[in-house]
Every structure is written in structure tokens, then in C-alpha cells.
């Protein structure tokens, strides 16, 4: 066979070309590095810029508003824990899982229990992602970092706070690694509270008040203090609870809203933190869920024991309680939030922290410390607004009873306060506690979701009684 010169050259060129390509095939692993997708953001990129971190927070707040333990719908704690304690009577035929809260017959397979658990840990994951991402970010300024980290520490504590109060011992998660989180064990309540306090203390140091957040859509250091005060109160650290609560009352710039009818308005003077409804003109889910518009009530009505406990002349029974009558029957419902439809401008937002709770914390911790005058001072400030007579001097037990009573009225239908108070004070089983036929001493905590125990046996044992 003969080759022409031209063919020989061509042959060499081809051989070299081929070799180059094969070399490339074996060594150019870089070839498989592709551009990031345009419809998603790469995790690292999110934490290079303050505005994308803000968007990550926006998701957490929107999610808290719409699908979390603190949301105002029928799976939030305002609703189910109100039913679980003695605040509401249940009417809906369709809400099977809410019905078992009302009956105090919650099973580990209850879907609301599962969603309380899962939505909390879902958000805790998102918060921990922010903590890790912001912490290792090289392009955010220290000021930005502090603000983001502080807010994230606060949120982590806030979410765990509800978990520990609902479920008892729970895992306190500070990692995003699913290999760690998938077989965590439960942490005893005491340790959870220690972590809560340390997160909140950090948050308090790092957070700052933003001047453009006049509506308090974001938690600030005073909110961290407020939660800290609540935590100390729940733990019986009276001095610390008093210190934190007085600090908020004195220095947060908030004051008790004089008009009862304005307390739950968007511009209320006593709001420490409320959630933005997200869409212009939208108001709260609470009003949509709780206001009765038809007979029989679609969801709930206020239960008689709660209505009976209002004192004569309590203006809150007028301003914060609504009624619906179909001619034969009349039902009363929580009417703190009144607007169940959209309005031209948003007028009401879901409030998570407001100052009157801090007054009651200050009162209770003062009373516990024996400062009865001071306690009555704070308590009477709240009573006065409800047009109730000021309480005279009395003994410590009476003062404390009065404070518990006041909390029940002032904070009714808000975020399960009634249940939490009964629980922390050990009064749930007493006569003034949850005297419902289904109530059992072990009902003081919810069961760990069954499905979770199956997936992660390290969460065993189940809470007593389930």
C-alpha cells in the first residue's frame, strides 16, 4: 500500500488531534463543571449579599405566618392549644385532628402534632443554614453579619421554645447536617432552656433596632429580652425575669396602648413584634379563622369557663369578644383581630409579642420576690386599661392568683398562653385548671409524632401516657 505525502500529513494530524482529545477525555474533569442554574441560587451565593440573606429571612417569616406553630390558622397553637386547654368549644365536623385536641385525646399519629413538629424543625433548619452561611461568609460586613446572626439566634430560640413547651424534652438542633440530625436524641428540658438562654443572650447582644422597621415586622433586641423574660418566668428565675421585663417596659419605647380597640391594630403602641401579612390589604388569618359568620360556627366559639371568668365590667369582654346570633343561639368568639377580609390597606397584623405580657411578667416576678406593691402596680396598669377597679393590697398568694387570672383574660386566644401558664405553674390538674372530662395528668405534653419515632428510634421513649 502506498500513501501520498498529503495523506501521511493528514494521518499525523489526525493522530495528534485524536491523542489530544483522548488526553482531554481523561484529564479534563473540569469539563463536567457546569454553570449554576438560573432558576435557583447556589447556597454560597445567597450569603455573599445582604439582600439575598434578607430574602432567606423573608421566607422564614412568611412561613411562620402561614405554616408554623405560631400561625393563626387551624393548625397553629393559638387554635389547637386553645382547644386543648379550656378556651374554646369545637364545632367543625371536618377537623378530626383539632377535635382530638379539644377532647384531650391526641394520638401520636395526629397530623397536627406532626405538622407542629415538622414545621418547627423545617424552619430551624432554615435558620441554621443562615447561621452557617452568614458565619462563613467572606463578603458580608461585620455589621450585617451581627444583625443577621442575632436575628437567627433569636429565631432558633423562639422556635425551640415552643417545641419544648409542647413536647417536653426535645432535640435542640444547631446543625444542618442531616446525618447528625436524623438520629439525634432528645435533650432534657433543663438543657434545652440553657441553650435557649444562651442563644437569646447572644441574640440580644448582636441584634440591633432598625429605624425603618417602625411597624416592628422584625424582632429586635427588645423582643429577645421579652422572650428571655418569658423564659426566666417559666423557669422560676424571678429576679432575672423581673430585670428583663422591666428593661423592656422602661426602655423599649413601647407603651401600653390606651385604647383596647387599638391594641391589635397595625400601629398599636404596645406591639413588640408582629408579622407582615405579605400582601397589601391582607389582614390576619386569626380573624379569618376565629370570627363566626354562620351558624353553627364553622370552627370554634369561646368556651363557657373562659367567658365566666371575665369580671363584671371588664371592657375586654366588649372590645375583644364578638358575638354571632342566628336568632335562636348566640355564640361568642375572640375578636381581638376583627378584619377577616382584605381591606384597602392592611389594618391588622398577627402580633407575637406585646408589652402587656411584659407588665404581667414584671408583676408576677415581683410578687414571687415579695415585692407585692410593685406587683400590684404592674397588674393594675393592665386592669386599668380594661376599665376594671384597681386591686387593693393583699397577700402574696392572692396577688399571684390575681395575676394568673389576669393572664388568662388578657392573653386569651393568643399563642397558647393559657395552656403554657397552667403547665408551668402546675395548675393544669387543679380545679381552676383544665377540668375537662378527657384531661389526664400526662396530657401536659403532646406525644412525639409516631412517624418520627419510627424513623428515628433515638427519640424514644414516647412521652408518658401515649
Amino acid at each position: 500500500m502506498k500513501f501520498s505525502y498529503k495523506e501521511l500529513i493528514m494521518c499525523r494530524v489526525l493522530q495528534l488531534g485524536l491523542l489530544a482529545m483522548l488526553t482531554c477525555a481523561l484529564s479534563c474533569e473540569k469539563y463536567l463543571e457546569i454553570d449554576p442554574p438560573n432558576h435557583q441560587l447556589i447556597g454560597e451565593v445567597v450569603f455573599q449579599d445582604g439582600s439575598t440573606v434578607e430574602a432567606a429571612f423573608a421566607h422564614i417569616y412568611a412561613e411562620m405566618r402561614d405554616y408554623s406553630p405560631v400561625s393563626g390558622d387551624i393548625s397553629g397553637i393559638s387554635y389547637v392549644m386553645g382547644l386543648y386547654a379550656d378556651e374554646y368549644d369545637h364545632f367543625s365536623e371536618y377537623q378530626q385532628s383539632a377535635r382530638s385536641f379539644y377532647d384531650n385525646a391526641v394520638l401520636p399519629s395526629n397530623t397536627t402534632v406532626l405538622s407542629l413538629w415538622n414545621s418547627s424543625y423545617g424552619l430551624i433548619y432554615a435558620v441554621n443554614r443562615i447561621l452557617e452561611g452568614v458565619g462563613s461568609s467572606t463578603s458580608l460586613s461585620q455589621v450585617e453579619k451581627d444583625r443577621f446572626m442575632g436575628e437567627a439566634y433569636f429565631l432558633r430560640a423562639f422556635l425551640h421554645f415552643h417545641l419544648v413547651n409542647l413536647f417536653g424534652d426535645v432535640p435542640y438542633l444547631d446543625s444542618t447536617d442531616y446525618r447528625v440530625n436524623q438520629d439525634v436524641s432528645r435533650m432534657d428540658t433543663e438543657s434545652v432552656y440553657q441553650r435557649l438562654v444562651s442563644d437569646l443572650t447572644l441574640a440580644n447582644e448582636l441584634m440591633s433596632t432598625s429605624a425603618d422597621d417602625a411597624l416592628h415586622f422584625r424582632p429586635d433586641p427588645w423582643v429577645a429580652s421579652a422572650l428571655l423574660a418569658r423564659v426566666y418566668l417559666y423557669r422560676g428565675d424571678w429576679a432575672l425575669a423581673l430585670e428583663e421585663s422591666i428593661g423592656v417596659i422602661a426602655s423599649s419605647g413601647r407603651s401600653l396602648e390606651a385604647e383596647l380597640g387599638s391594641v391589635f391594630k397595625k400601629g398599636s403602641a404596645e406591639t413588640l413584634w408582629q408579622l407582615d401579612p405579605g400582601t397589601q390589604g391582607y389582614n390576619t388569618v386569626e380573624a379569618y379563622t376565629l370570627v363566626i359568620l354562620s351558624s353553627p360556627p364553622a370552627n370554634i366559639a369561646l368556651a363557657q369557663p373562659l367567658l365566666d371568668s371575665f369580671e363584671e365590667g371588664d371592657q375586654r369582654l366588649v372590645d375583644w369578644v364578638g358575638s354571632f346570633s342566628d336568632g335562636t343561639d348566640t355564640w361568642l368568639f375572640p375578636n381581638k383581630y376583627k378584619l377577616y377580609n382584605a381591606t384597602a390597606e392592611t389594618e391588622e397584623c398577627s402580633i407575637l409579642f406585646r408589652l402587656s405580657e411584659l407588665y404581667l411578667i414584671a408583676a408576677e416576678s415581683s410578687a414571687q420576690l415579695g415585692e407585692l406593691d410593685q406587683a400590684l402596680g404592674y397588674l393594675n396598669a393592665v386592669r386599668a386599661r380594661a376599665s376594671l377597679p384597681l386591686l387593693p393590697d393583699m397577700g402574696q398568694e392572692e396577688v399571684l392568683d390575681a395575676i394568673y387570672h389576669e393572664r388568662r383574660i388578657e392573653l386569651f386566644s393568643e399563642l397558647g398562653h393559657r395552656f403554657m401558664d397552667l403547665k408551668r405553674s402546675g395548675r393544669a390538674d387543679l380545679e381552676q385548671g383544665i377540668s375537662k372530662p378527657g384531661w389526664d395528668a400526662t396530657d401536659i405534653v403532646l406525644p412525639i409524632p409516631e412517624q418520627e419515632l419510627i424513623k428515628n428510634p433515638n427519640l424514644l421513649p414516647q412521652n408518658d401516657g401515649f
Binding site: L14, A25, L32, P36, P37, E452
Partner: protein, 1009 residues
């Protein structure tokens, strides 16, 4: 060159290339040169009938183990004794023994083998192999069979013709998808079992660029890109099934490979071919429903049973509002029209020994059976040019095809469903003036939805260049370079005129969904091929690399609140917009692959294939994986002792293969840690959230395939039998592994230790019943008996699959209630209470496992022909269970029509009846029981069928041989006749929401000159 090789010596694969390249310097291996010192040199040239030199022909001295191969110019030289016999053989030609008789120059002409079944040349993707010598499992359908059918989707051509390949049409609407499953479902993920499509060497993405919200009327995954390949331009379709055939496709071969090869020009004078056919289509089957008299009797009985004597004011059908003497066959009205189709194909082809070409164009149009003028139109073109240089060293082949496809369909699929539910005495659809009749707002006019319109505009360009350069001696360099582009534009409009005018709804309630998608991809595959004769052993080897990239983007928007319905297709006339999707995807892929094939004496064949793959769909640690297979074949009929003992055995082969291939069909970017955009806002900021728990370490699904097969041919292959048993095990399943809530998510994409097994028998038989002069009658039968089984799934009970899968059962199952018949006393259905709690409740009592996979399927093919006349008939059959009419059906006795079977209902205590008493739906007990019935084992029943899938008759008036003019007339029928007991519309689609498959009859002519 050697230096540069040493530098790279650390890569083990380079050893292989080193072997290749080093052979360049071995002068003595150059083809045609003798391997031993010459005794008596015989030389010559081998050509085909057209006079073209044949390269690569094996020349063997019969009595000795000496061989040679013809060179590029067809010449050979070999040393042989003058009294010996030379045997010339090459794939695709009849073997030719030639006694030397003392000559020293022997030129021979070899004849192509067309009829001998063992000599079929199979395209295995990177190489070709003869049917006789293949070690792998490859099915083939050629243009001869494709042309006999009136089809618009190439997959339709495979139906009933291949073992191990299950194909079903999803709808009788033009442009609908075909579902294909090669040797069963391998992946637990739905949608993870698609085969790899290769068109002329170019991978072709079968994923739709469509938007679900737009293509509502088509079941499945939107409009199929495979419709954009013209079946008339296809020369052959090969399906690769076993490890031996698919391992060279590595990570994408797990679900089989479908190779589509387009037509090329043939040497000879320029030939023009014109083909026209027109046809008519109708739905092949409708259901027997109640007529008005029976229907109204049912309604009255239902109300009587419910204790209601005053018919409710909204029961217009029975309370006298609607005419109780009217009767309309809604099935006929809604999908009873005739579909017209026309296909026009023109091609010019020809060429000389250096250059051949083919240019063809096609126009296809089909209307639908729906009561409006919907039309699918396709225009396509193919150009194929092949050139070989004078010396024959370099050859180039460029093929380019382009298809434009416009499909118009209703924007809503509900019409077909309405044909079953609408009362037979429902009012007229239209008023006298042609406007929609709303009958005083007593009904929602079912054809109002036809005001919704769907139009898709798709185009596809596939272009491919093949380069073949003969290097030194047995070594050739080949390259495959390709580019494809897919475009899709869809619009689905919903004008306010679909609503009853009484609501006074204007164009502000109109909406339109726009979707635009584009995908481009390219491929570069350089390869080295070695074709070497080592005495009596033939060595074929190849090594190559592959680089691919695919990019796609899609934007889908819903526009609403229009200023005018006339401008509904124009986005500027809308004032509200919502984006459904705005995505861009990139996919890169690279591989090195190789094959070594050793053929000793044409009897013992060893085929080794392997591939190392890298895919951008996996994280940096898991990008690469290795796949490989070994195939063995023993042609025992070539053994002397067998040839002597069984002289009637013309072909006997035992083959076996074992190996692995993989699956990377999990979508792009899944391993990445990303944030997605949410829909909720906070403080005017759209939230972003972590998309998923990212697992950078998930990896390929691997599929281990084994097969043994026996092929037998008797009496010169007049009777051929083949039987295969395969076992494929797919493990390392890529699924969302359930996680506890403390991780923040319900699952993470990871490789689960679950194993799915597909086993099966594949049997084929071909018989030449009569071959007498030019009369030929052949019969082919194929049968596949597949079995799918979930072998293992760790912690299934706790997983999200707990209610869908059962270990030991197939993947395609459903858990349903067990119907225990009708209680003779109450007249209501009763069910098995599995957990004995006195209630029939979801999950606990849905304990009956129903299998929905076919038990067996196959086809029976007959061909009778003379040189002018040919008659072909293909039956297709499937034995299976499927969802029937009762799945999610409304209550019998309510305001919807019913199949006539319900007349056998319970009427009074003591009756033993198959159907419960009629109820209007106001009896909550009857209602609830019926809902349970609609989820019971009664909804899954026999959906087996035998179908006369294809009949083709053709007659050649002139054969084109003598005067150059050829004329052929043909008549074709598709889906002509079906035997089935299926309770429902169509046992193939098993879907009452869509048009059943059509019976199509077409007539055509083909002219050549």
C-alpha cells in the same frame, strides 16, 4: 509520540490506546500482507455486484488457519496451495467458497445476502455486527416494516414486532405519546425508566419541553419530541437490550437504547420516488351506555330507593325540565367524527461509487375525531450525503433532518369524559343560530370547553457528520459530530366565552398560558477502530471518547385579565401575569469507551465492552463510574461434529452476556445546595428557601444484566427459533430516602439499597412456510413473558413508599379494597374488613394487591408475497389487568350516564346482583359505599386484548427495473379489529379521559422513476 504516551502512562486506560498506536509501527500487520512466508501467492480483488471494491472481506484458506483481509481497494493477497479453496466472507454478503484451481489471480464478486436471516446487519451504535455473530440482544425493525404502517410516531412502528419491548399508545389524539418500556421498569422513581434514544449517532432527548398547564388535553408528559421524527425517513430502528449491547452506552443504557437510523442514498442512477397516501380514521370502539328510557328509569328508581318522591329542582334530567324523549349518543357526538390523514413523501436519491445522496421531503396532516376542526400538520426534510475519496481512505457522511410540527388540539381534555357522564336526554349543544345553547342555565354546555384552544409549534433539527479515515493498515479513525435543536412554542387560551353568559363575565376573566422552550445539544465522539485478522482469529476493537452538552430553557407564563377576547393570544392585551416556570438547564456528559471482539474460526466469539462515564448530574465526588460487559457466543452449528450429526441445522448459537449499565435520569442540579424562590412575600421581599437537603454524594443507579439465549435455524433458516432468558437487577436506587422531621425535610435524594428485578422469557419464531419461485409466505411470532419484582427495600414500612410498594411484588401495583359483592338485604356493596375493626377505612383495609403489569405480550406477523404483490398482517396481543370504567366513577343512579352492565343491579331484598341498588347520591351510606367501590378490586379487571394491529396490501403495476418506471398501489389498515373483554373504552390507553386509539384505513400509491 511515545514520549507523550509515557507521560500519561499513569492512566491505565492509556495502555489500551498504547497497544493500538504501537501497532502502527508493526509493518507486518498491514492488511493483505501474508502472515507467514509465502508458498504460492494468490492475489485478487473483491467487489460487489455494482463493481465497488469491498474492504474488510475475510479471505480464508479452507484447509489451513490462514487468513487475510481485503484492503481499501478491495485487493488481497494470501499464500495458499493451488489445490485449496478460498473462502470469502463479510457481514451482509453471502459467503463465497472459491477453489483456487492453480490460479494466482482470483477476482471475485460477492452477492449481498438479503433473505438469509442470519446475515442481517445490526447497528449496535458504535459498531455493526451480523445477526449471526452478535453476542448481544438486539431487535431490529427496518423500513420494510415501518412503511407498511400509517403512523406518525416512530415508536408506533415497533408495536407488536419486538420481544422485550412493550409499547402502548396513550391516546388517539394526534401528537400523543407512546409509553415504552424495554424489559420492564427498573427504577422506583416514576419516569426514571425511559430508554436512551440515538438518532444517527446523536442522543435525542425524549423529555418534553411542554408545560403541563398548557397541553392539558394530552395524557402523560406533554407533547412528545419523538413525534418530530418522520417515520418515512427511517431506514431502521434497533433496540439494544442486554448488557452486552448496552454497556457501551454506560450510564444511560440501563433502560435500553433505541437507535434510529435514517435513510441514505444508494449507488445507481438518480431515482425519484413519490408516495402519496390518504386515510380515514375513527375510534375503534365505544362503550354501550344506557339509552334515554333506561337512563330515566334508573334515575327514577334511584330516587325511589332513596325515599325521595319530589325530584329536586336541579335534577333537570328527570324532573321534566329536559325533554325526556330526547336521545343523543354523546360518544358519537364528541369523538365520533372521521379523522382524515394525508401523507405525501417525495425523495430523490442516487450517486456513484464515490458520492451518494438522498433528499426527501414529507408533508403529513391529520385531523381529529373531536367535534371541531383540529389539525396536526408536519413538514419534514432529510438530506443525506455520503462521499468517499478516490483512494477510499476518507469517507464522510452528513445527514440533516428538519421537522416542523404544528398541532392544534382542544385546550381542555374534559370532553371525552363528558361523553360517558352526560345524561342521554341532555339538551342540544347549539342553538339554531349556531351559538352555544345554555338551556336557561340548566347545564354547563360540554362543548363550551372547545372555546379553549391549544396550539403547539415544534421544530427539530438533527444534524450529524460521520468521518471515517483509514489510518495505517487495520486501523481507522472515526468521528461522530452532531448537533440537535428542539423548539417548542405552546399556547393554551381560555376565553371568557366558555362561561355561561348569564354570569356576565367579560374578557377580564380570560386567560392564556404561553410556553416557549428550546433545547440544543451537541456531541463529539472521536474513535479508533481496529480490524485485524490474526490467523484464524478475527479481532475487532474500538476505543473512543464522547463529549456531550445539552442546554435547555423554558419560560411559561399565565396571562389573564384581557382587554379583549380577540387579543387573547397577545400578551400585551393582558394585565396580570404569573410565571409558571422560568428555568435553564445545562447537562454535560463525557465518556471513554471501548470494545474488543474476538472471533475464533467464526465459532467462538468473545465480546468485551466497557465505558467510563462522567455526568454533570452528580456531585464532584461521584461524577465518574465504570460500566462493562462480557458477551460470549458459541456457534455450535459450525462445529464439524454437529454439522455432520445434524445436517438440517443451519444455524445454532448459544450466547450469554453479563454486565452492567447505569441510569442518570434524575434531572439536573439535584446534588447542588441551592435556594429556590418561594411564592410568599414578607416586607415586599419574595422569600427564598433551601430547595432540598443536598447530598453531594448520590450516584448512579446501576443495573446488572444477565442473559442466556439460544438461537436455532433449521433447513437453511427456513425455520428459526430463538429463546432468551434475562435477569436484570437494578440496585442503588436513586430515591428520596425518608428522613425524620428533625432534619428539616421529609427526604433526601440518595442511593437506597432497594433492588428491582426484571426477569423474563423472550421467544421468537420465524418460518418460511412456502418459498416457491417468487411466491413467499413467512410467519413470525414473538412472545415476551416479563416479570417485575421488588426484591428488597430497607425499611419500606416507614418510608413514603409504604402504601405504594410491597416487597416481592412488582412496582406497578395498587392496593385496593376487596369487594365482597352486594349484600342481598341492604342492596349495598360490602367489603372485606381486613383489620376487623368494624369499619372499612383507608390504608388498613386496602390490602388487596393488584398487579398492573402485562403477564405476557407479543405479536404474530404474516407476510405473503410475490414479486408484484404483497400482503402483510400483524396481530398484537397483551395479557394484562388494568383500571376499568369504575375507577373513580360517580355513583350509579346519580345524574350521570352508566354502562348497560348496571342494569343487573340489586332491586329488592333477596336479590343477588353484581351492582348495588341505584341511588341518586342523597343517601350518604350508598354514597360512601360507592366511593369505596370505586377504590376496590372491582376497578381493576382484565384489560387483555388481541388486536389486528396492521394489514398492508400492495401491488406493483410496474417494477421500475426495465423501463425505469415503477408504480405501486397499497392499502393499509391500522388497529382494524380488537378482541377484548375490557370494561371501558380502550384496553390500550385504559383511560376514559382521552380519545381511544383510532382505526385507520389508508390508500396510497408510490411512483418511482
Amino acid at each position: 509520540m511515545k514520549k507523550s504516551l509515557k507521560l500519561l502512562g499513569r492512566k491505565p486506560l492509556f495502555l489500551l490506546f498504547y497497544l493500538f498506536l504501537s501497532s502502527l509501527s508493526m509493518e507486518h500487520l498491514i492488511a493483505g500482507n501474508p502472515l507467514e512466508p509465502p508458498q504460492a501467492m494468490v492475489t485478487g480483488k473483491v467487489t460487489d455486484i455494482g463493481g465497488l471494491p469491498l474492504t474488510g472481506v475475510n479471505v480464508r484458506v479452507e484447509s489451513k488457519n490462514i487468513g487475510a483481509i481485503t484492503g481499501l481497494d478491495g485487493t488481497y493477497s494470501i499464500d495458499a496451495d493451488g489445490s485449496d479453496v478460498l473462502i470469502f466472507s463479510i457481514v451482509g454478503f453471502k459467503s463465497l467458497p472459491m477453489p483456487i484451481n492453480g490460479r494466482d489471480v482470483i477476482d471475485v464478486t460477492m452477492e449481498e445476502s438479503v433473505t438469509a436471516l442470519g446475515e442481517v446487519v445490526l447497528n449496535a451504535g458504535y459498531y455493526t455486527v451480523s445477526g449471526r455473530e452478535r453476542t448481544g440482544s438486539i431487535e431490529k425493525v427496518t423500513t420494510v416494516d415501518i412503511e407498511k404502517q400509517s403512523i406518525s410516531n416512530p415508536l408506533a412502528a415497533l408495536q407488536g414486532r419486538m420481544v422485550g419491548v412493550e409499547i402502548q399508545q396513550t391516546s388517539g389524539l394526534p401528537g400523543a405519546n407512546f409509553s415504552i418500556q424495554i424489559r420492564g421498569r427498573n427504577s422506583i422513581r416514576t419516569g426514571g425508566s425511559e430508554p436512551l434514544y440515538i438518532v444517527d449517532g446523536m442522543p435525542y432527548a425524549s423529555e418534553s419541553l411542554g408545560e403541563q398547564q398548557a397541553s392539558l388535553s394530552l395524557p402523560g408528559r406533554g407533547i412528545s419530541p419523538l413525534n418530530n421524527i418522520n417515520p418515512n425517513d427511517i431506514e431502521s430502528i434497533e433496540v439494544l437490550k442486554d448488557a452486552d449491547a448496552t454497556a457501551i452506552y454506560g450510564s444511560r443504557g440501563a433502560n435500553g437504547v433505541v437507535l434510529i437510523t435514517t435513510k441514505t442514498g444508494k449507488v445507481g442512477k438518480t431515482k425519484v420516488e413519490l408516495k402519496v397516501n390518504t386515510g380515514l380514521g375513527k375510534v375503534f370502539r365505544t362503550m354501550d351506555l344506557l339509552d334515554t328510557r333506561e337512563y330515566l328509569a334508573m334515575r327514577r328508581e334511584a330516587y325511589a330507593n332513596d325515599g325521595i318522591s319530589d325530584y329536586p329542582s336541579n335534577a333537570f334530567d328527570v324532573n321534566g325540565t329536559w325533554d325526556s324523549d330526547r336521545y343523543t349518543d354523546w360518544q358519537r357526538k364528541f369523538f365520533g367524527r372521521t379523522s382524515f390523514l394525508t401523507n405525501f413523501q417525495a425523495s430523490v436519491s442516487g450517486g456513484d461509487q464515490y458520492t451518494t445522496f438522498l433528499i426527501s421531503g414529507n408533508y403529513y396532516t391529520q385531523t381529529s375525531v373531536l367535534p371541531k376542526d383540529y389539525r396536526n400538520e408536519k413538514v419534514s426534510g432529510l438530506a443525506n450525503i455520503r462521499h468517499r475519496t478516490v483512494g477510499g481512505r476518507l469517507s464522510l457522511q452528513l445527514s440533516t433532518q428538519f421537522v416542523a410540527n404544528v398541532n392544534n388540539l382542544p385546550g381542555d381534555a374534559s370532553l371525552v369524559r363528558q361523553a360517558f357522564s352526560l345524561a342521554p336526554n341532555a339538551p342540544d349543544l347549539y342553538n339554531g343560530d349556531g351559538s352555544l345553547n345554555w338551556e336557561n342555565s340548566t347545564w354547563v354546555n360540554p362543548v363550551a370547553v372547545l372555546e379553549r384552544d391549544y396550539r403547539s409549534n415544534a421544530s427539530t433539527l438533527i444534524s450529524n457528520l460521520k468521518v471515517d479515515y483509514q489510518l495505517f493498515g487495520p486501523l481507522a479513525f472515526k468521528a461522530n459530530l452532531g448537533y440537535t435543536e428542539n423548539h417548542l412554542k405552546e399556547i393554551n387560551t381560555t376565553p371568557s366565552t366558555i362561561y355561561d353568559p348569564i354570569y356576565g363575565v367579560g374578557p377580564q376573566y380570560s386567560s392564556a398560558v404561553h410556553n416557549t422552550g428550546k433545547r440544543t445539544s451537541w456531541i463529539v465522539e472521536p474513535q479508533l477502530h481496529l480490524d485485524l485478522s490474526l490467523g484464524s482469529t478475527q479481532l475487532d476493537a474500538l476505543a473512543g471518547a464522547s463529549f456531550q452538552e445539552s442546554r435547555s430553557n423554558r419560560l411559561s407564563i399565565r396571562a389573564s385579565n384581557f382587554s379583549s377576547n380577540d387579543l387573547i393570544e397577545n400578551l400585551t392585551a393582558a394585565s396580570s401575569f404569573f410565571p409558571y416556570a422560568d428555568v435553564q438547564d445545562q447537562y454535560r456528559y463525557q465518556a471513554v469507551f471501548g470494545r474488543v471482539n474476538l472471533n475464533h474460526l467464526g465459532r467462538y466469539i468473545l465480546n468485551l465492552t466497557g465505558r467510563r462515564d462522567g455526568s454533570s448530574r452528580f456531585g464532584p465526588n461521584r461524577r465518574f463510574a465504570n460500566f462493562g460487559a462480557v458477551g460470549l457466543a458459541w456457534l455450535f452449528s459450525e462445529e464439524g461434529f454437529i454439522a455432520n450429526a445434524l445436517p438440517f441445522l443451519s444455524h445454532g448459537k448459544l450466547r450469554a452476556s453479563h454486565g452492567s449499565s447505569g441510569n442518570d435520569q434524575i434531572g439536573n442540579y439535584q446534588y447542588l445546595d441551592t435556594y429556590s424562590f418561594g411564592s410568599a412575600q414578607y416586607q415586599n421581599v419574595i422569600g427564598i428557601y433551601p430547595t432540598r437537603l443536598f447530598n453531594p454524594d448520590f450516584s448512579w443507579e446501576t443495573n446488572k444484566k444477565s442473559e442466556v439465549s439460544l438461537e436455532l435455524g433449521f433447513w437453511n433458516d427456513r425455520l428459526s427459533l430463538s429463546g432468551s432468558y434475562y435477569r436484570n437487577r437494578s440496585s442503588n436506587q436513586l430515591v428520596g430516602i425518608p428522613l425524620p422531621g428533625t432534619t428539616g425535610f421529609g427526604s433526601v435524594n440518595a442511593n437506597l439499597g432497594a433492588t428491582v428485578e426484571n426477569t423474563g422469557w423472550e421467544l421468537g419464531l420465524t418460518m418460511v412456510n412456502i418459498q416457491n419461485g417468487d411466491f413467499l409466505w413467512t410467519t413470525g411470532l414473538n412472545l415476551t413473558i416479563p416479570k417485575n419484582r421488588l426484591v428488597a427495600f430497607p425499611d419500606l414500612e416507614e418510608s413514603t413508599y409504604a402504601n405504594q410498594l410491597v416487597v416481592g411484588s412488582p412496582l406497578n401495583i395498587n392496593k385496593v379494597y376487596r369487594l365482597n359483592g352486594v349484600d342481598p338485604e341492604s342492596g349495598l356493596f360490602t367489603f372485606e374488613d381486613f383489620n376487623g375493626d368494624g369499619m372499612i377505612s383507608a390504608l388498613e383495609d386496602r390490602e388487596v394487591v393488584k398487579r398492573l403489569d402485562p403477564k405476557f405480550y407479543g405479536g404474530l406477523d404474516n407476510h405473503i408475497g410475490t414479486d408484484r404483490f404483497s400482503f402483510d398482517v400483524l396481530f398484537q396481543f397483551t395479557k394484562q389487568m388494568g383500571w376499568n370504567f369504575w375507577s373513580s366513577a360517580p355513583i350509579v343512579g346519580g345524574g350521570t350516564n352508566q354502562p348497560i352492565e348496571v342494569l343487573a343491579r340489586w332491586q329488592e331484598p333477596g336479590n343477588v346482583a353484581p351492582y348495588q341498588r341505584f341511588s341518586s347520591g342523597s343517601d350518604s351510606m350508598a354514597n360512601q359505599v360507592f366511593r369505596t367501590f370505586a377504590q376496590s378490586d372491582a376497578t381493576i379487571s382484565d384489560a387483555s386484548y388481541i388486536r389486528l394491529q396492521n394489514v398492508s396490501v400492495s401491488y406493483r403495476l410496474a417494477d421500475g427495473q426495465r423501463d425505469g418506471f415503477g408504480c405501486e398501489l397499497f392499502l393499509r389498515g391500522q388497529n382494524l379489529w380488537t378482541i377484548t373483554d375490557y370494561l371501558g373504552l380502550d384496553p390500550e390507553t385504559r383511560n376514559k379521559q382521552t380519545v381511544p386509539t383510532l382505526r385507520i384505513l389508508s390508500l396510497g400509491t408510490r411512483l418511482t422513476f
